[in-house]
């Protein structure tokens, strides 16, 4: 299989450390004591919980329902009882809590009824729905719902479907083992993607440090008689980054600002995604387990097939960590993060756990100032100028960081890796990006506030004018009436002139006071309907939500979550706006 490969600029070659864990076959992890399923496990809307504490669930039963198109369902990984639906830590660098469903397994591991689907016979929309209902999301890292990526961009023919088996991060071997042991199902999954996307070519990219996986995949492709090319790509971190792999295999460069690679006629899927998609299509199995590598400072590094929701500490214990282990890394050493505590559960995108210690990962030397040596720029696969972005991030000059395209940064860590000053560059970029997003949110909020303020003012003006007009009419009528009465009375009783002239004056004053009071009253009345009857849809929705929340816990953070769903992506995709 010969084909021309392209190169991407930059990249680094950290020691791969893959040999420790790739010589043993995949093992089945034992059933944990408790499963914690965070509802938010993929990009997009947070699934809504559809179970409550005390409910009994079966293996594969949906417990969280997709919220919107870009969202994927969450399922019970085994049968058991829902203990609670509450806030728990989820694997996230913040170490903060989010809503989780906690399940106590009953040990029976009893499946719910599974419904496979014939993807060739069914309409694409039904297939997408099936995948969404099965909770299939990208297992390569980002966790983008797979059905979203399988929907072709209108007007752009799909040229290449790329299957990402590069696995470029050191230590991780889960894709390697998956391809070695279950190549057949992976290839069948790829065929499903092919059928849905109708690409001209299917390319399977695997780093050349995994010869067994390459061989196994080639064999499976040949066995299934598929026209897929299995391509060995040079080992160079981050060759597995979607854009880098596209570049290597097709020569296309997808700009950082492009929302989806599909806009350039390419789509990339992780091998694990293909595998779980096949399980969902052919067997109706939702995504409730995955293969992950447990390695690092442990006696017995190896790959396990693990139920989603398993606490990471329990999993690590299987590999017998050395006593000096002082933390658990989720993901690879280049992009992963230390988890706050061992109770944190495995999620769909957890591909590796590394026991951390000072020997494998020496503590960082103190940060020195940047000497502008340019090593980072040479290492950056996105051809950015990390030191400039750093310089301005450090000075909190975020506008400038955007001029240097900070939003093109994929946070791969190559720059930090090579920096002689040991600057945590990526950290600065993340800091700058989240500040920019926060600012964007604030800006949106302040624009809205301004609009609402102006609207309220306008309304008040108008109402005041209306009322004043009405009142003036009424007062005039009343004054006229009173004057007439007084005149009549005067004529009748023959009262003296002083009274006669004073009366209308008094009347006018009283009328004014009355008018004012009426105005105030009217105003008060006028306000109420505005706020209960003529609610804008968003207001109504918000009010409903508040109502809902009153029933549940008294929480207010939803406000920001729904905002972020709208604000953050726009900020990310159009950084200059």
């Amino acid at each position: 299989m010969l084909m021309d490969l392209f190169k991407f600029k930059g990249g680094v070659k950290p020691p791969s450390n893959k040999l420790q864990s790739n010589h043993l076959p995949i093992a089945q992890a034992p059933m944990p004591s408790r499963l914690v399923m965070p509802l938010h496990q993929s990009i997009g809307g947070t699934p809504r919980p559809i179970v409550a504490a005390g409910d009994h669930v079966l293996k594969g039963q949906m417990i969280g329902e997709a919220d919107g198109w870009i969202s994927a369902a969450v399922h019970a990984p085994t049968s058991g009882t829902v203990v609670e639906v509450a806030m728990h830590v989820r694997p996230h660098p913040s170490g903060l809590d989010s809503l989780c469903v906690v399940i106590e397994p009953d040990g029976k591991d009893e499946w719910i009824a599974r419904t496979p689907i014939d993807h060739n016979a069914a309409a694409p929309a039904d297939v997408f729905h099936h995948l969404q209902q099965c909770g299939i999301v990208g297992l390569g890292g980002a966790g983008f719902p797979a059905h979203g990526k399988l929907t072709p961009t209108k007007g752009v023919p799909m040229d290449e479907l790329i299957i990402n088996g590069a696995e470029c991060e050191p230590f991780i071997t889960c894709d390697d083992l998956l391809m070695r042991e279950r190549a057949d199902e992976v290839v069948r999954g790829i065929a499903v993607f092919r059928d849905l996307l109708q690409p001209k070519k299917v390319l399977i990219g695997i780093e050349d440090n995994k010869p067994e996986a390459i061989a196994a995949m080639r064999a499976a492709v040949d066995a299934l008689n598929e026209p897929f090319s299995v391509v060995a790509v040079p080992t160079l971190y981050p060759a597995g980054g979607a854009k880098q792999l596209i570049r290597v295999l097709t020569g296309k460069e997808v700009p950082g600002s492009m929302r989806s690679t599909a806009d350039m006629g390419v789509q990339v899927f992780n091998v694990g995604t293909a595998y779980s998609a096949w399980r969902a299509i052919a067997h109706g199995e939702p995504l409730i387990s995955r293969i992950l590598t447990v390695t690092g400072n442990v006696h017995a590094p190896r790959n396990y097939e693990v139920l989603i929701g398993t606490p990471m500490g329990e999993l690590l214990a299987l590999a017998q960590p050395h006593p000096d282990t002082d933390g658990i890394l989720m993901g690879g050493p280049m992009m992963g993060f230390l988890i706050p505590n061992p109770q944190v559960p495995v999620v769909k995108t957890t591909n590796c756990l590394i026991a951390h210690d000072d020997r494998l990962f020496p503590p960082k030397a103190p940060e020195m100032p940047c000497i502008r040596c340019g090593a980072c720029a040479r290492a950056c696969p996105h051809e950015l100028q990390p030191f400039e972005m750093y310089w301005f991030s450090r000075a909190k000059n975020f506008g400038k960081t955007q001029e240097y395209n900070i939003f093109d940064c994929i946070e791969c860590g190559c720059c930090s890796y090579v920096c002689p000053s040991r600057i945590p560059l990526v950290q600065y970029f993340r800091f700058a990006k989240s500040e920019i997003w926060a600012r964007e949110r604030e800006k949106n909020a302040s624009d809205q506030a301004k609009a609402r303020f102006e609207f309220k003012q306008l309304r008040e003006e108008r109402e005041k004018a209306d009322k004043a007009e009405k009142l003036a009419k009424a007062a005039a009528a009343q004054a006229a009436k009173k004057a007439a009465e007084a005149a009549a009375a005067a004529a009748e009783s023959g009262a003296d002139a002083a009274v006669a002239t004073a009366a209308p004056e008094m009347d006018a004053k009283r009328a004014a006071i009355e008018a004012a009071m009426a105005r105030a009253k009217a105003q008060r009345e006028a306000v109420q309907p505005k706020n209960t009857e003529h609610l804008a849809p968003d207001q109504q929705k918000a009010a409903d939500e508040i109502e809902a929340r009153r029933v549940a816990a008294h929480l207010i953070e939803d406000r920001v979550s729904s905002e972020k769903a709208t604000a953050a992506p726009t900020a990310q995709l159009d950084p200059k706006s």
Binding site: E367, R524, E557, S562
Partner: protein, 192 residues
């Protein structure tokens, strides 16, 4: 003689230039001030009046006319910094304490539904009808605190927006903080 000549020549120039200027001053008259809009865009639009002006726009106008730029507490020191950048003025410390961002919450058990808070909210963030429990729509509350005083039963209080995964921000890298903190400490020592 010399004097007369000098005066004549200068006067000639004066008449020409004066006429030109006067003419141009009418011909090229511009209305409005784009600067106000730029300033207003920086102000947080909380409309709280803490700056001493009835809303953000009046304060923006005042700033353009020479008012100090450090009077908007919701904008924070960062707002001052950005105004200083825009206007080329000196950065001054904020004229008040900086508070974390807050929103108002109505204690629904105490609320008597008097609608007074509804009227005081500049951004219509409170919904509810007379004699019904009112609610504050968190997304729309700017935290201006204007609804606190009118409430006859003091059922409204301010709460700091808690950190959640969605509004969580990556922190400024820690290592650098230490070095700079040391620098600051030294600077203060220097100054003493």
């Amino acid at each position: 003689m010399d004097i007369l000549l000098a005066i004549a020549i200068m006067a000639l120039g004066a008449v020409v230039l004066g006429a030109l200027l006067g003419f141009a001053s009418i011909k090229f008259k511009v209305e409005g001030d784009p600067l106000v809009e730029k300033v207003e865009a920086i102000l947080p639009q909380t409309q709280c009046g803490q700056c001493g002006f009835p809303g953000c726009k009046p304060y923006a106008e005042a700033i353009v006319n020479g008012e100090e730029i450090n009077k908007c507490p919701p904008g924070g020191s960062e707002g001052v910094q950005r105004l200083a950048d825009l206007l080329g003025r000196e950065v001054k410390p904020l004229d008040a304490e900086e508070k974390p961002k807050q929103i108002a919450i109505i204690d629904e058990n105490t609320c008597i539904g008097c609608t007074l808070c509804i009227q005081s909210c500049p951004v219509d963030a409170i919904v509810g009808a007379a004699k019904q429990m009112h609610t504050i729509i968190a997304q729309q509350c700017t935290g201006c605190e204007l609804c606190l005083p009118p409430c006859p039963v003091e059922c409204i209080h301010m709460a700091v927006i808690p950190e959640t995964i969605d509004n969580w921000k990556w922190k400024y890298p820690v290592v650098a903080m230490q070095v700079v903190a040391a620098d600051k400490a030294a600077a203060i020592k220097e100054a003493a």
